[in-house]
C-alpha cells in the first residue's frame, strides 16, 4: 500500500484547490494545508500544476528552510514523479526545484563542467539507476567469476559517480536502491546463480549499502518499501514497457515522501518529539474510571499486548533520540499511577521528558510541552486515539503532525513508521544521550500559552445532543455508566437495574440518557441525568455524570438547560445540586459554581449543597443543537 493513509482526508479538497488564490504568496500558504491531506497521485499532480501556475519558478515568500535544488540523475523516466517530489516538499513548507538529465546522459553531464547540470548547481543529487539498466549485460550464461567481476565493476562505477557528485557540488548525495523487479530463475536460493539478474541486483544492493556507509551517501530504500507494500504497488511491468516508468505513477506520492524525508532530515527538519495520549493510546481503558486493576495492558489479552508493543516502539524511538511527552486529560495523580505502579508498563515516568495531565484543552497543553522542552511546535508529533482531540490539535496547531492512527493499538507503531516523521540520516552520541537529558530536573513552566480559539472549533463541530428518557433498550448501558463513572460524577450514587426501573415508573422523577453526535461521528451515550422532586417546589439532581471524552464541549451547560426544562415541567421552582467528594471526582468540585448555582451548605466531609432559582434562570447559549431522539 502506497497511500498516504496517515494524513487526514479533506472533504472539500477539490473546491479548495479550485479556490487557490492567484497571488503567489497567498497561493503557497493555501497550498501547504492541501498537501497535508490524504491525496493520491492525480490530486498530487493537480495541486502541483495549479500551484505552479500561481507561483511560477520563483521561490515564494512563505517557503521555509533552504530552497531545495534537486538534480535527478537517472536512466529511465522520472517526469511523472516530479510533481509528487515538489508536493512532498510543499507538505513540509519547503520549495523544491528539480533538474533531470537528458535521457541516458547522466555520466556525460556529470563529467562536463559546462553542462546544464553544473549550471543548475544542485544542493541535493539523486542517483536513480533502474534495475534494468544496472543489470544490463548480466546473464545466467555467465560464469560465476564473470558475474562477480560485473558486480564489482558496476559498484565501482556508482561509487565514482558519488565521488564526482561530491567533488562537483559538495552536497547531499542520495542513491536510489533498485527495485527487485527481475523474475527469479532458481527460486528461493537465487544467490546460487550469480549471473541471475535477480541475484545480481540483490548482491549489488548489499554492496551499495556497505559502500554508502563508507562514502556518507544516503539511501532511498525503495527495495525496503517494496518488501512492505508488495512489488506490484511500486512497479508495473506494463508501464515499464509502455513508458519506461520503473516507479508506477500510483506510488508517486509515497516516492516523493521518501525522497523528501531524506532531504528534510539533512536540513534538520525531521520531527523530534512524540507526544502521547494515555487512555486508550498507551493502555486500554480510562485510568480515572477503571482504576489500575481495570486497565487492559500486557499479557493475557491480544489488546493488552498490542498496547505493550506500542509502548515498546515508543521506548525504542526514545533510546535513539526521539523525545517522549505525555498529554492527557486526567488528574495528574491518576495519570502518573500506572507509570509508577502497573507491573506491565514498559514506559516509566523517567522516559517521559514532559508530562502534562490536566483537564485543559490539548492544544494549550501541547503548546506548554513545546515551551517546556524548548523546541518548536513543528517538531512535535501527537498520537491520540480520539478523533475529537486530533482534529482540535490539527485546527489549532497546524504545524503539529497528527497522524490518523485509528483506534487499534496493533497498528499505531506501523502507522508512525510509515508516516516517517522521525526520519534520521545519522545517529550521534547526542541522540543517544538525549533521552537522559530530558529526564527529571525540569520544573513545569507556567501554562501561560496563547489562548486557543475554542469557540470557532466548537461551532465547526456541528454537535447534536440527542436526549431520551431511560428505557429498557438502554437499560444495561445506563446501569453500567452509573456504576462505572468515577471522575465526572457529582454524587457517585450507584443504582441497580431495579433502581433505574423505579425511576422510569416514577412520575415525579426523570432519568435522561444523553448521546452526542458531531461531524466526526457518534460519541455514544455520554451523560446520565437523574432528578427527583423532593416536595412541590424543589427538584434534587440525584445523579449527574458524564464521560470525560466530551469535556470542554459545552455539554455541561447544555445538560443544565435540559434539567431545567424537565424540572419546570414537573412544577419545580428551585434546582438543588450536590457535590459529594470521593477520591476520584475532584475535577467536578466546582461544577455547580461554574454553572451559576448558589452554595448553601458546605459540610465537614467536603459535601457541598447548592441551589438555583429556576424563575430567574435563563439557559446558556451553546453551539450544541438539542433534540429528543
Amino acid at each position: 500500500m502506497t497511500a498516504l493513509y496517515w494524513l487526514p482526508d479533506l472533504p472539500d479538497w477539490r473546491s479548495r484547490l479550485r479556490g487557490l488564490p492567484d497571488d503567489a504568496a497567498a497561493a503557497w500558504d493555501a497550498a501547504v494545508p492541501l498537501a497535508n491531506t490524504r491525496i493520491d497521485f492525480i490530486r498530487t499532480n493537480a495541486l502541483d500544476e495549479t500551484l505552479r501556475r500561481a507561483i511560477g519558478d520563483a521561490v515564494p515568500a512563505g517557503a521555509i528552510g533552504k530552497p531545495v535544488r534537486l538534480a535527478i540523475l537517472g536512466s529511465c523516466t522520472f517526469a511523472h514523479l516530479h510533481a509528487a517530489i515538489r508536493v512532498a516538499a510543499l507538505r513540509r513548507g519547503l520549495h523544491a526545484t528539480i533538474y533531470e538529465n537528458e535521457f541516458g546522459q547522466y555520466q556525460q553531464e556529470l563529467a562536463e563542467r559546462g553542462s546544464a547540470l553544473h549550471a543548475f548547481a544542485p544542493n541535493a543529487v539523486l542517483l536513480a539507476l533502474d534495475a534494468h539498466h544496472l543489470a544490463a549485460g548480466v546473464s545466467s550464461a555467465m560464469t560465476n567469476e564473470d558475474a562477480a567481476a560485473a558486480l564489482q565493476e558496476t559498484a565501482a562505477r556508482i561509487r565514482d559517480c558519488w565521488r564526482t557528485i561530491r567533488d562537483s557540488f559538495a552536497c547531499q548525495v542520495i542513491q536510489q536502491m533498485p527495485l527487485p523487479l527481475h523474475p527469479a530463475l532458481l527460486g528461493s536460493n537465487e544467490q546460487r546463480l550469480p549471473g541471475s539478474r535477480a541475484a545480481f541486483i540483490a548482491a549489488l544492493s548489499g554492496e551499495l549499502r556497505r559502500m554508502a556507509e563508507a562514502e556518507g551517501v544516503d539511501l532511498l530504500a525503495l527495495d525496503a518499501r517494496a518488501a512492505l507494500d508488495g512489488l506490484n504497488a511500486w512497479h508495473d511491468p506494463a508501464l515499464w514497457h509502455r513508458a519506461k516508468q520503473e516507479v508506477s505513477p500510483a506510488a508517486a506520492p509515497m516516492y516523493g515522501e521518501l525522497l523528501m524525508r531524506l532531504i528534510a532530515a539533512r536540513q534538520g527538519r525531521s520531527y523530534k518529539c512524540l507526544v502521547l495520549d494515555l487512555d486508550n493510546t498507551l493502555w486500554g481503558g480510562v485510568v480515572g474510571d477503571d482504576g489500575l486493576e481495570g486497565l487492559v495492558l500486557g499479557q493475557g489479552s491480544a489488546l493488552g499486548e498490542a498496547y505493550i508493543a506500542f509502548q515498546d516502539y515508543a521506548r525504542e524511538l526514545s533510546r535513539r533520540g526521539v523525545i517522549l511527552a505525555v498529554c492527557s486529560k486526567n488528574d495528574e495523580a491518576d495519570a502518573m499511577e500506572p507509570f509508577a505502579k502497573h507491573p506491565e508498563m514498559l514506559l516509566r515516568r523517567g522516559d517521559i521528558a514532559s508530562f502534562v495531565a490536566n483537564w485543559g484543552d490539548k492544544a494549550t497543553n501541547i503548546r506548554a510541552i513545546a515551551q517546556e522542552l524548548n523546541i518548536g511546535l513543528d517538531a512535535l508529533v501527537f498520537v491520540d486515539d480520539n478523533p475529537f482531540e486530533r482534529n482540535l490539535v490539527r485546527q489549532e496547531l497546524p504545524m503539529v503532525a497528527v497522524p490518523e492512527v485509528g483506534d487499534d493499538p496493533a497498528l499505531f507503531a506501523r502507522t508512525l513508521a510509515d508516516a516517517g516523521y522521525f526520519e534520521a540520516v545519522a545517529i550521534t552520541d547526542d541522540d543517544r544521550a538525549r533521552a537522559a537529558q530530558y529526564q527529571g530536573n525540569r520544573a513545569r513552566e507556567a501554562l501561560r500559552a496563547a489562548a486557543t480559539d475554542l469557540p470557532s472549533y466548537l461551532r465547526g463541530l456541528q454537535m447534536q445532543l440527542l436526549w431520551r428518557r431511560f428505557d429498557r433498550v438502554g437499560l444495561q448501558r445506563t446501569v453500567q455508566l452509573i456504576n462505572k463513572t468515577n471522575q465526572f460524577n457529582l454524587t457517585t450514587r450507584r443504582h441497580t437495574e431495579d433502581d433505574v426501573l423505579a425511576i422510569i415508573a416514577d412520575p415525579r422523577a426523570f432519568g435522561l440518557q444523553l448521546r452526542l453526535l458531531d461531524r466526526f461521528g457518534d460519541n455514544g451515550i455520554i451523560a446520565i441525568l437523574i432528578g427527583r422532586m423532593l416536595n412541590d417546589a424543589d427538584l434534587l439532581i440525584d445523579t449527574w455524570l458524564m464521560s470525560c471524552r466530551v469535556l470542554g464541549r459545552q455539554v455541561e451547560p447544555t445538560s443544565l438547560n435540559l434539567i431545567a426544562d424537565q424540572a419546570v415541567a414537573l412544577g419545580a421552582t428551585t434546582l438543588l445540586g450536590e457535590y459529594i467528594p470521593t477520591k476520584k471526582n475532584g475535577m467536578v468540585k466546582d461544577h455547580y459554581d461554574r454553572l451559576g448555582f448558589r452554595l448553601t451548605v458546605e459540610e465537614a466531609d467536603g459535601t457541598r449543597r447548592y441551589a438555583l432559582d429556576l424563575r430567574a434562570f435563563t439557559g446558556a447559549e451553546t453551539f450544541i443543537d438539542v433534540k429528543e431522539g
Partner: protein, 80 residues
C-alpha cells in the same frame, strides 16, 4: 454495466486529471483535448485501474483510440 454507465465515472476522472470539465463523447480523441499527452493517458488508465481494482491488458491499451474505446473496454471488463 453498459458503456453509457461509464461516462459519468470517466467525466469525474477526466475532471481530476485535467482540472476542468471535459465534454466526453465517444469520438473524442487525445488530439481534441489540450494537455492530453501520453503521461495524462497513463494517469487516466492508472486511475481507472485503482478505482475498479482491475488491470488493463497491454493489447487493450493498444486498442484505445478514443473515449468510446475506453468505455467499451471498461464495459467488457467490469461485470455489475
Amino acid at each position: 454495466m453498459s458503456e453509457a454507465a461509464f461516462y459519468p465515472v470517466l467525466a469525474e476522472i477526466f475532471r481530476d486529471v485535467f482540472m476542468r470539465d471535459v465534454d466526453l463523447r465517444p469520438a473524442l480523441t487525445a488530439k481534441d483535448v489540450p494537455g492530453w499527452d501520453s503521461f495524462k493517458q497513463i494517469e487516466i488508465i492508472v486511475a481507472l485501474e485503482e478505482k475498479y481494482n482491475i488491470k488493463f491488458h497491454t493489447r487493450e491499451l493498444d486498442s484505445l483510440h478514443n473515449v468510446g474505446d475506453l468505455a467499451r473496454v471498461l464495459a467488457g471488463k467490469i461485470r455489475p
